[in-house]
Structures are given as C-alpha cells and as structure tokens.
C-alpha cells in the first residue's frame, strides 16, 4: 500500500532534444539518413504509445508507419521550440486516436475481427511477456499512455503533463497508481 521507492527519474535518452531537432531539420531538407536515425531512437516509444491507445499490434504498426511518413511531410513546418519529442508523440497520439475513431465508424462483419492481435505474442522473454500483458490488461488507457511516455519514451512527468494537458500532480499520481497496480498484479501472477 505504501509506496516504498521514491519516484523514479526517466531513463537517459539516447539522442538529446537538440540532436533530435537537428535531425528534424535535416529531414525537412529531404535527408532520409536523418529519418532513419530518428526512427531508431523513437520507434519503440511511438509503437508503444500507439499500442497503448489501440491495444492492437497490427493497427499500432500501421499507425507507426503513418507517424514517420507524417514526420517526413510535416518536418518543413516544424518550429524548433526545444520540444521535439512532444511533437513526435503528439502526432502519434493524434493518429492513434484518429485510427480508433475510424475503426468505430466502420462496422465489422466478421466477428473474428474483434479478436485483438496482441503484441506480447511476438515476445520470447517470459518476464517481458507478462509485464506487457499486464500493462495492456490491468491499466486504463490514460495510465498506459503515461507509463509508456515515461518509461519507454523517457519523457519527464512535467513534459507529459504539458503534452496531455493535465496537471503535474495528476500525472504523478496516475503514474504511481499505475505502477502500484502493475506491481500488485505481478505479485499475484507470481
């Protein structure tokens, strides 16, 4: 019940924000190398964020592809303000939400389509598989998003609050609650 560990700092990012901004500048000039670099740095978080909203690995894959195409298209319009990650993940979130809306509009004729395709099936490590399964099934959508943005994308709580339009305290409490839930369900699974 009582949180024993202090709030953790996000894992250091591989590329700094300035490097990412440079990357986007180069992409705007049509440099595909830069796009590959940006992809390598962010694709896990982009995929995770899309997955957290869509809960379906195929749709998340499609959205991930759309995100990088959108980045390629919109890079010339990007205004450097020191928040390239927020820009990338906002695009991801918006495209994911649009995909959810689009899906809601199209009716499904085949009931088997309702079966979600899970991302954890691709994992070989049992620990990772259990944790991902719990992230997808135990947490609510906003909690999932916050956890992915902090743990995978390496964003700070303050940045997440700014991006999602939430209070900092809300983000922190939801993050802590999410981890508490995860810990509890992992203990039960053991």
């Amino acid at each position: 019940m009582i949180p024993t560990s202090p709030p953790s700092a996000p894992e250091p990012r591989e590329m700094s924000d300035a490097e990412l901004e440079n990357c986007i500048k180069e992409i705007a000039a049509g440099d595909k190398e830069a796009l590959s670099k940006l992809y390598c740095d962010t694709h896990a978080a982009v995929y995770g964020l899309a997955l957290s909203v869509l809960k379906n690995s195929h749709d998340a894959e499609d959205v991930m592809q759309d995100v990088y195409v959108r980045i390629w298209e919109s890079a010339p319009n990007y205004r450097a303000m020191g928040k390239p990650r927020a820009w990338i993940y906002t695009i991801t979130r918006n495209l994911s939400l649009m995909s959810v809306r689009g899906k809601n509009r199209t009716s499904l004729s085949d009931p088997s389509e309702l079966e979600p395709e899970t991302a954890e099936e691709n994992l070989t490590d049992p620990d990772e598989r259990i944790v991902l399964e719990n992230v997808m099934n135990t947490l609510k959508e906003d909690e999932r998003t916050i956890v992915i943005l902090h743990a995978v994308a390496g964003m700070k709580h303050r940045e997440i609050a700014g991006m999602l339009g939430m209070e900092l305290s809300t983000v922190i409490s939801r993050y802590n609650r999410a981890l508490k839930k995860l810990r509890r369900s992992l203990e039960e699974a053991d």
Binding site: S5, A45, Y68, E73
Partner: protein
C-alpha cells in the same frame, strides 16, 4: 519487483515487440513528399502579405493580401470565437473588417469607458509597409472607438507595434495562451522595466512577472505601462488607458488613512502607485507619519486591504480593521483571481466565458458561467440572511460566490459576519434552498462551534431569532419550509469520532501504525454532517469523508504528497 525494474522490463518489451518497418517507411516517404509538394502548390491560395493581431481581451488575427483584403480572420481565444461567430470577413477590406470588429466589441462590452484600450500588432516582412499599416489601422480604430463610445469621456487608447515572430515569443504565447502580439508587448515592458531599474542602480525585484501580466486585459497592461514608466519606444501609444474601474490614487490614500486610523495632517510623506500583485491590480500606499511608517497594499477595485505592514522589516503585523490578511482572510488573492480576473477563462468552467454581459464594469463580470435558471448572487445572499434572520445591514461583511467542483457549479457559498458570529451557508443555485450551514464563534480560538448539528437545525441562542422569514411578493422568494433543512430521525445518533476513524482507515485500506499524521474536522457537505479525515502516510495524503450519522463514506480522495 521495484518500480525501476518494472520500467526497465516495459522498455525492453516495447523495444522487442516493435516491428521494424523502416524500409516500408523510407519507400513511402519519397512518393509522399513529392505528392505533398504538389498538393501544397495546388492548394496555395493568394499570398499573405501582412498579419494584424487585435487584442483587447478577445484576440483576433487577420491575414491580409497586398490589396489589404482580408484572407482569413482567426479567433485566438474563446472570447474571440464568440465574437467572430457568424461573421464572414473573408474578402472584405481591412478597414471594413476593423470597423465591424470594433463595433461588435463595443456592443458586447469588451470596449467601454472603463476598458478603452486595444493593442494592434502588425507582422510584415516589409518594414515600410508594416509601419504604414500600423499607423493606418491605429488611426482608423481610434476614430471608430471615438464614434462608438460617444458617451465616454475617456476617449480611446490605442497601442500599436510591429512584431517579428521568434521561437521564444511563440513559445511564450503558447505557454500562456495569449497572442504573439500581447506576448511581445509584455516582453518589451519587462525588458524596459529591467533596464530602468538597472539604470537607477536598483535591484530588480522582479515584481512584475510575465504570467501575471499575461492574464490581464490590455487596458490594465497599458495602465501599468503608464504608471510604472514601462513604455517601450517601439510601441506607439495613442490616448490614455482608462482607470475608471479603480478607486484612484486619492481613493487609495483615503482608504489607507482610514485603515491606519490617522488624519492627513499627520502624514509627512506619501507614495501611492498602481501596481500588480500576483495578477491582481493593487494600489501600493506608503505613508510616513509621526506614528511610524505604514505600507498598504489595497485592492484597486474596492480599496479592501490585501496586505499591511507597520514599521515592520519583513514581518506583517496586525493592523487596521481586518488584520494582517485583510477583509476576506488569507485566501483573498485566490478568491480575487477566481472571481474578479474577469477576462480570463476560468479553468474550471466548461467552455468558460470571460465575456462581459454589459459594459458596466468589473462588478458585472463573472468568469463563472452560471447554468440557465440559476438564481443571482444577491438572491443567494438574501436566502442565507433570511434563514439566519438577519439583514444585510446587520453584517460586518457579506460575500457570495459560486462554488465549483469538477467544472460544475455546485452551490453558492455565502459567508458573513454578524453579532460576533461567522456564518457560512451553502445555497442551492436553482431554488435558493439552504443546503448547509456552519456557524463559528469569532471569539473562540479553536474550532468551529457548530450549532448542534445541521440536521437538527437548531439555532444558537441569541444569534438566530426563531421567527420565520416573512416573505415579500416575489417568485423567487424562498418559503420557510424550503429554507429549512431536512429534518432527520431524532433517534439517529451521531457516531463517535473513534468509530468514524476506524471506518475511514478501513476505506482507505490503511493501518493506524502506517499513519504519519492525521486530523479530523466536522464539516457540513450537501446538508450532511461528515467527519473529514486527513490521513497522511509516506508519499500520500488521503481525504476521507465519513457521514457522522450513518457511517457511510461519502468521499475518498488520494493525493500524492512528497
């Protein structure tokens, strides 16, 4: 598993689960970019030559072509959206557009004799054309305002500037939800203040902050620029900003003297200036007298004392009528910002309004949007006073504001002091029914002297007469039955504090030994008496409300506390 291990595993899982689609992405990018470029060139309409931003509180951005025809009119905040609704300005001439906007702003009360300032910011690559447009538009707006505000003695106050967007400015504008023009004006003012204080050899105390100025209407910013000598050379000022909404320097002096309890003859030296404190317009009054030095900070609208100091070096002393924190206690600033910083959209109201219903000034501005069919604040005050059997003249002070919870107006909170007792009423916003009441004896040092409990609605001897309020013919009049709270079964007994504490602990899933600190208060919420527990454990605070009669838990709230 610790938090860190969980995070690490999630990260690894995502890295392994994410498929590699780089090749597909790179192959689709070539096509997409050329297609996008084609689309862009097809969609590109007439070129935008200049951008003109008008700020009062509604902020509007107009884009014009080389012939000064409007290509687009964009609302930059909620008030502007209301203003531009149904207005088709595309293709109209710039002057025609400006005329219509000014006329509408006057009609809706955004521009009036107490609020007569408008800021024009022009953005254009060609500096010559930019200067020309700036001059033309500001003269036209000045003329428009003078025509539309014929009754006003104040005239128009037009501020104009040229703006060059840079990333810092855009970031500031986005952060504070204001236009680039307003952000530029504030930045120039603050730079100017910094240089002025440096020239004087004074330490820049940083009293003006960007966030404070950002939430103010342009009129207040213009007033401060005049008062504090923060006028920047690159901003052109036509006319003077109206200070009619405020009590003025003389009024502030009079108020300060009355708080100090001295006459003008005892004052050796005085200094009064209009300033801003935490987003609130205030008069700072310094008096040097034989009895000592006084410093007052007064609410510029009402003259109410916000802070005072006497001979103190950094320590506030109780002085004056209302003590060190002024009339409404230490929460005055919060109260003020919530209820009187009218132009700002209230964060808790859905959609917010910030619009003025008429041009009568601040008193009539409410940032809180009341639902349809709600009674007025005055009616709520009357309902509370009639329940207490008092008149407004019996009170030392009375104030009323809508209490907002999760974006909805819950009830009116009416607070007043009369006969040495402090009353707090919750009044239903539709019927005027009394939902809850607490009375505190001001002479008691600790705790609230609740009159029995609210359910029994027994009035304290000598404070509330037993007579029922005699009605006047009015549809909104609240009957004695309505005003009286619901009666409860007298057999129902109040829970002991220990019992309630056990319930609260159980609900929050805590053990008593885990608690670092806890406290309990008896409160009335929605007409029910509740024990309000605050239970603090490491990293968290829980608030649990337990009904004092049936032991049901009405609220549990968890908050992170480091």
């Amino acid at each position: 598993m610790t938090n860190r291990q969980i995070e690490k595993t999630i990260r690894a899982a995502m890295e392994h689960a994410a498929p590699d689609r780089l090749d597909d992405i790179l192959s689709s990018c070539t096509w997409q970019q050329s297609a996008a470029a084609d689309r862009k060139s097809e969609e590109a309409g007439p070129a935008v030559f200049s951008r003109i931003i008008l700020d009062v509180n509604p902020s509007i951005s107009l884009e014009v072509d080389e012939n000064e025809k409007v290509l687009s009119a964009r609302a930059l905040n909620a008030d502007a959206e209301v203003l531009l609704e149904g207005m088709n300005l595309k293709g109209a001439s710039l002057f025609e557009t400006v005329d219509r906007i000014v006329q509408d702003m006057v009609k809706r009360g955004y521009l009036s004799d107490i609020q007569n300032s408008i800021l024009i910011s022009v953005e254009d690559d060609n500096s010559e054309r930019c200067g020309r447009l700036q001059e033309k538009v500001s003269l036209r707006i000045e003329k428009d305002m003078e025509e539309n505000l014929q009754d006003s003695k104040e005239g128009a106050s037009v501020l104009s500037q040229s703006v060059e967007e840079d990333s810092e400015l855009v970031a500031l504008a986005e952060e504070y939800g204001i236009s680039v023009g307003k952000a530029a004006l504030i930045r120039k003012m603050l730079n100017r203040e910094g240089t002025a204080t440096a020239e004087k050899g004074e330490k820049n105390s940083g009293k003006m902050k960007f966030e404070d100025l950002a939430r103010m209407p342009v009129n207040d910013i213009a007033l401060l620029a005049e008062e504090e000598n923060m006028k920047d050379d690159t901003v052109t000022y036509l006319g003077h900003a109206s200070s009619k909404a405020y009590i003025g320097h003389k009024g502030a002096l009079k108020k300060a003297l009355s708080y100090a309890g001295i006459g003008m003859e005892k004052v050796r030296k005085q200094k009064i200036k209009l300033s801003c404190k935490k987003g609130m317009m205030v008069y700072k009054v310094k008096l040097k007298t034989a009895a000592g030095k006084f410093k007052y900070i007064l609410d510029a609208r009402t003259g109410d004392m916000v802070r005072c100091k006497k001979n103190g070096k950094g320590k506030y002393r109780k002085y004056g009528t209302y003590g060190k924190y002024g009339k409404y206690g230490k929460h005055y600033m919060k109260h003020y910002r919530k209820h009187y910083c009218g132009y700002r959209q209230h964060p808790m109201t859905e959609g917010g309004t910030g619009t003025m219903e008429n041009a009568n000034g601040y008193e009539n501005m409410s940032p809180v949007q009341m639902p349809e069919g709600a009674i007025s604040e005055q009616q709520a005050k009357e309902a509370a006073l009639s329940h207490a059997g008092l008149k407004e003249s019996d009170t030392l002070y009375i104030y009323c504001h809508p209490e907002i919870d999760h974006g909805y107006v819950e009830h009116y909170d009416v607070k007043f002091v009369a006969g040495g007792m402090k009353y707090k009423y919750a009044i239903d916003i539709y019927t005027g029914k009394v939902l809850g009441r607490a009375v505190k004896d001001k002479r008691m040092k600790n705790g609230y002297a609740y009159e029995g409990n609210y359910h029994e609605h027994t009035a304290p001897a000598g404070t509330v007469p037993e007579k029922t309020p005699d009605g006047e013919d009015s549809e909104d009049k609240i009957s004695a039955e309505d005003a009286a709270p619901e009666a409860v079964n007298p057999a129902e007994e109040m829970l002991e504090e220990e019992e309630a504490f056990a319930i609260a602990l159980k609900k929050a899933n805590l053990q008593e030994r885990d608690l670092l600190r806890w406290k309990v208060k008896l409160r009335t919420k929605h007409g029910r008496t509740v024990y309000r527990f605050k239970l603090r454990i490491r990293g968290y605070v829980y608030r649990v409300d337990v009904d004092a009669f049936n032991g049901s838990v009405t609220k549990v709230k968890e908050k992170v506390n480091f």
